[in-house]
Symmetry: C2
Subunit: 647 residues, 2 copies
């Protein structure tokens, strides 16, 4: 019997026919979907090109390499309420490669957040569509543009979400050039250690950096091996293949205890023949005629295509607490306290009262005393190990989720994160920085451990609050004040113990100061801060013995400095002279703030501060050596009085 | 025939006997060697303990975990002339874990560099044996103590050696805690990419950080996988097993195109029972009675044991060139030039004349114009990709080898390496930093790309030379001046093109300035620098139309600032008023240097500078918005004159 005559033949044929039909149908559906998403990707490309040409500058080719992945993400997976960007249940999209800003702007425009036509104001003065994302553009999770910071910011967002159970996903789009930044590997360690399986790194490996091919070009295994070694779940794809992209995003929906890295081989400028994988097109907008040629290649694009984002089922917005009070502690008048130790105790107490407070540590919690916070609020304590850059950017992410992150390490090691601090500042993050072990007064450890540029670092950034308490009581009050302050704040804490200067009932304010010693016959004023307050008081006592009365002010608020009190002191003292004394390098420190505050007021400011690299020694030896101890102050007062008399 | 009666039996026995004898002999020799090296390791341990107890602080346990490896390295492999630490043919030992300084001091003491007894001055004021290594101690390749920088410094040393064929090895001892620092992975990428097979990272994985176990504890595979993924040749050993250690050092003598990582499982405090692998001993010196107990455990140590280092067969010391002249270029009077572009051209020319000049780039060579140097001196051009931290520390290593490294990137991105800059400063490295794209005048790219804290960053570090030329001719002269200057120097370069202010024959000096406009009847002085020079000149022209004469000074040298000229200006002008104008944040910038220089001189300084975060826009819009353009200067002059008149 011929097989066609078998009774099963017809059955088999019917089954096969049905299968083929279903397959065709599926294929059609997929193709239709793909073609629909391809159309959207074409529209995305169009706007990246149009907006940059309109601006006359920008990075269209860096947008194009990621356009396909970003389109599928927004078209099918991204859950977001464009009316409430801060809703903690929103998925998050961090554009680590900030120069691809037009892509970000196009994505949210196509999600209906604003008319796409507004993108024509790209890079123009007053537009929210700046050259790189800034907080004026409310869909940016952070200001980016200094590369290699996005994964840390995403880790901060994902951490808050993970710890507090918001159940959303955080997608971070990075370039390949920026993977050379060490911070990326700090972030990778952190994300894996914290098991942030709600974090998805999308690596746009387009081969070309700014000035040349990247270190690894298209050697994909270099990235795959590295992210695997850093304990990521790695998915390697062709970043322009729609099915592979879709499959990758499908996979990352399943959280399995590891952060994801979608490592995508892409081509810079992909989608436009004369840009695709071509050298020399980094950071260049197309000329009008080039744009026309490009748009022709994109064929007819339906300009009305839009993403229909799913909204999260819940809405919860972060709120700012304007006033954080504290359980007051009674300090024993005769006892000495290290301000860093008091900070730790107070922070732990504030953490009980305010559940948004987080503490971040860089393996120095027993030096900064954030260990107190860990003991009582482990669920909001974040161990970042010795990786300060990641620590600061994680804090920026936490701040975006409405948290109040306290970042504490040695002041000297905050310089390690200067660029991240700068960018968190541009991001308007609400971070409190605590720098311990400031100045030469730390003693034996030597210059590498001394925070002597920290006021300069934080002070140059506009609007940063900088405070430095000298005793336990002022520390207690100031920690609560900076916690309540919305925005950047920096507190210096001291290594050595210091006696109480204040009473438990004394009050303090940001921008305030305290006159600690005065008479009706003060010849001049000594303005001190932190450890030098005690030297100033000692000097005043010494001088009094020689019938020289000087006024002593504790400028615990360095920025804003108490201009009114300083002016008053200048006016009221005989020689219209202010001597500032600080345990910080002379340029960019407290003295410069005091001087600026007194600009235009008749009188003179003399700065005593550290002028050279210090060394090992006792606190006393080093303060003497730096010329900022009581004897140096006394000598300076006498010498200026002598000159004044001669003059 | 019984086997014993075989004629071969005796032969066999004889051969076997001889073999056994040789084996025993060999074993004895090994054991004797081991016992000798074990004795030396005991002596090393003793001094690490004694010196820290004597100091009353320090990190003995961090020394002990690495003592065995360091002892074998110095006893058998390290080639070094203690009389000429700078001999370029010396092997190099970089102590990345700087807190283990007593180990370093003991090693060179046992190599005969100085009496070991001197270690009793550890951490005392005036001693070269500081808490962490500093350049006063001449055997330190760099100041360390801010963690995670040593591998980059080692890479810099190894790079010079590799490129110039010195044939030496560079050993870098790192801790495990510090491997969390991203810079380590920047260095790893760099070392592998540059095929630095003369670089040996010795990883002391002792499990314990400062405040707790490290992220990976003793999960050795975490380190092994990561260094393999970063293309190192990995040797995994027990860091207290003498045969394994020896074998590892034997292996690394063979260069095979890859950098080596000896990944050693060790125990913190190893060798003393009550310290070995125990929590709570980080950074603690033993008390007197604890020390006695420990020394008893070390048994009788022969205090006379010493390392006999092999000397390199050649000696060549780096020399400093005091004066680097340049082929002068004639600039066309009517043409405009970008100072960053001129910098590139001049650097290439200087590189022809001086073979010690290196240029380091972070994938922005077509923006900073170090690409000109690459074209002509590829052998001394170092592409560091987007990894600024590593770039700066590599430069510190190059400087130690007598090179003159020019590090160039966007000024904004130099902040990424603030801590490395700080430590390179403590190391007294001879690095020239070039920050391009300074200020709001870069225009459309927005705040993330604007260098507005850079003067503050470099300025707070004592003794750094800071210059900012405003035109092509001053750029030409100032590049040569900073190249000749020994020590830190920083130059700001501008993005936009500017017209010539100077003539080809004009001369410049570090600490100088130029009065560009003056009359006998100047009411006040405007001191500008860089881009604001043109605004000041424009304002002066405007004011002249209204019969208001103002003096204009170009302070191209920001630190040291030309105090004499500024004083002269203050004295000679009618209102004793100086207005500083700069494209930098207001705190810590040029204005503060000018103010400090004029302290005590009757008169007033008013600072015009950037006071808020800028945005995208044209150069003109942003300078106007920041209040540092000609119209802002004009307005300020008029308003102060009005007030002065009223007063």
């Amino acid at each position: 019997m011929h097989i066609c005559q078998s009774p099963y033949w017809n059955n088999c044929c019917a089954i096969l026919d049905a299968f083929v039909q279903r397959f065709q149908h599926l294929k059609e559906r997929i193709m239709k979907n793909i073609s629909s998403v391809q159309d959207k990707a074409r529209l995305v490309r169009k706007w990246c090109l149009v907006s940059t040409t309109e601006a006359g500058s920008g990075h269209p080719t860096s947008c194009l390499s990621a356009a396909d992945m970003a389109t599928i993400l927004f078209d099918r997976y991204f859950t977001y309420d464009t009316e409430n960007p801060l809703n903690v249940y929103n998925d998050r999209f961090v554009l680590s490669k900030g120069h691809a800003a037009p892509l970000l702007y196009t994505l949210f425009g196509m999600a209906g957040a604003y008319p796409l036509d507004e993108l024509k104001t790209l890079r123009k003065f007053g537009s929210v569509f700046e050259g790189h994302p800034v907080p004026n553009y409310k869909y940016a999770e952070a200001a980016t543009g200094s590369l290699g910071q996005g994964l840390s910011i995403g880790a901060g967002l994902a951490l808050a979400s993970k710890r507090e159970g918001f159940g959303n996903k955080v997608y971070v789009l990075t370039g390949d050039g920026e993977l050379a930044e060490g911070q990326v590997w700090e972030a990778a360690n952190f994300a894996a250690h914290e098991k942030l399986d709600n974090l998805v790194a999308i690596l746009d490996i387009n081969r070309l950096g700014q000035s040349q091919e990247t270190m690894f070009g298209h050697q994909m295994e270099e990235y795959i091996n590295k992210f695997k070694a850093f304990d990521f779940e790695v998915i390697s794809i062709d970043g322009h293949n729609y099915e592979e992209i879709d499959q990758a995003f499908q996979t990352v929906q399943n959280a399995n205890g590891k952060p994801y890295a979608i490592i995508a081989k892409t081509f810079k400028g992909h989608g436009i023949s004369f840009l695709d994988n071509k050298d020399g097109w980094h950071g260049k907008a197309l000329k009008k005629e080039e744009l026309e040629k490009a748009l022709k290649e994109l064929e007819q694009v339906n300009s009305d295509l839009r993403f229909q984002l799913k909204k999260p089922s819940e809405t919860k917005m972060p709120t700012h607490v304007d006033r954080i009070t504290q359980t007051s502690i009674t300090f024993e008048p005769k006892k000495e306290y290290a301000t860093r130790e008091v900070f730790g105790e107070i922070l732990a107490k504030l953490g009980t009262e305010n559940k948004e407070i987080y503490a971040l540590d860089g393996d120095v919690m027993n030096s900064t005393f954030t260990e107190d916070f860990k003991k009582t609020h482990a669920e909001r304590f974040v161990e970042c190990y010795i990786a300060e850059q990641n620590m600061v950017s994680v804090a920026a992410g936490l701040s975006r989720m409405g948290k109040i992150p306290f970042v504490a390490t040695f002041a000297a090691f905050l310089t390690r994160a200067a660029d991240q601090i700068r960018m968190a500042g541009v991001s308007e993050a609400n971070i409190k920085f605590i720098g311990s072990h400031v100045g030469v007064s730390i003693g034996e450890d030597g210059p590498s451990q001394m925070g002597l540029e920290d006021i300069s670092l934080f002070g140059s950034f506009p609007g940063t609050v900088i405070v430095q308490p000298c005793d336990a009581i002022s520390t207690e009050k100031l920690v609560a004040l900076i916690a309540s302050h919305k925005g950047f704040a920096y507190m210096r804490t001291l290594r050595p113990k210091t006696p109480l200067v204040y009473k438990n009932e004394d009050s303090f304010s940001i921008g305030g100061s305290k006159i600690l010693q005065q008479s009706d016959d003060d010849l001049l004023t000594i303005a001190a801060t932190g450890i030098t307050v005690f030297e100033a008081l000692k000097a005043a006592d010494e001088l009094k013995k020689e019938h020289i009365n000087v006024r002593v002010v504790d400028c615990y608020s360095i920025q804003p400095v108490d201009a009114n009190t300083l002016k008053k002191c200048l006016n009221e003292t005989h020689h219209k002279l202010l001597i500032t004394v600080e345990d910080h390098f002379i340029h960019g420190g407290f003295g410069d703030f005091a001087t600026a505050a007194l600009s235009g007021v008749p009188g003179q400011v003399i700065k005593l501060a550290v002028k050279k690299i210090s060394c090992s020694g006792t606190k006393e030896e080093l303060m003497k050596d730096a010329g900022i101890d009581a004897s140096a102050i006394t000598a300076k007062v006498k010498s200026v009085l002598k000159k004044e008399v001669v003059m």
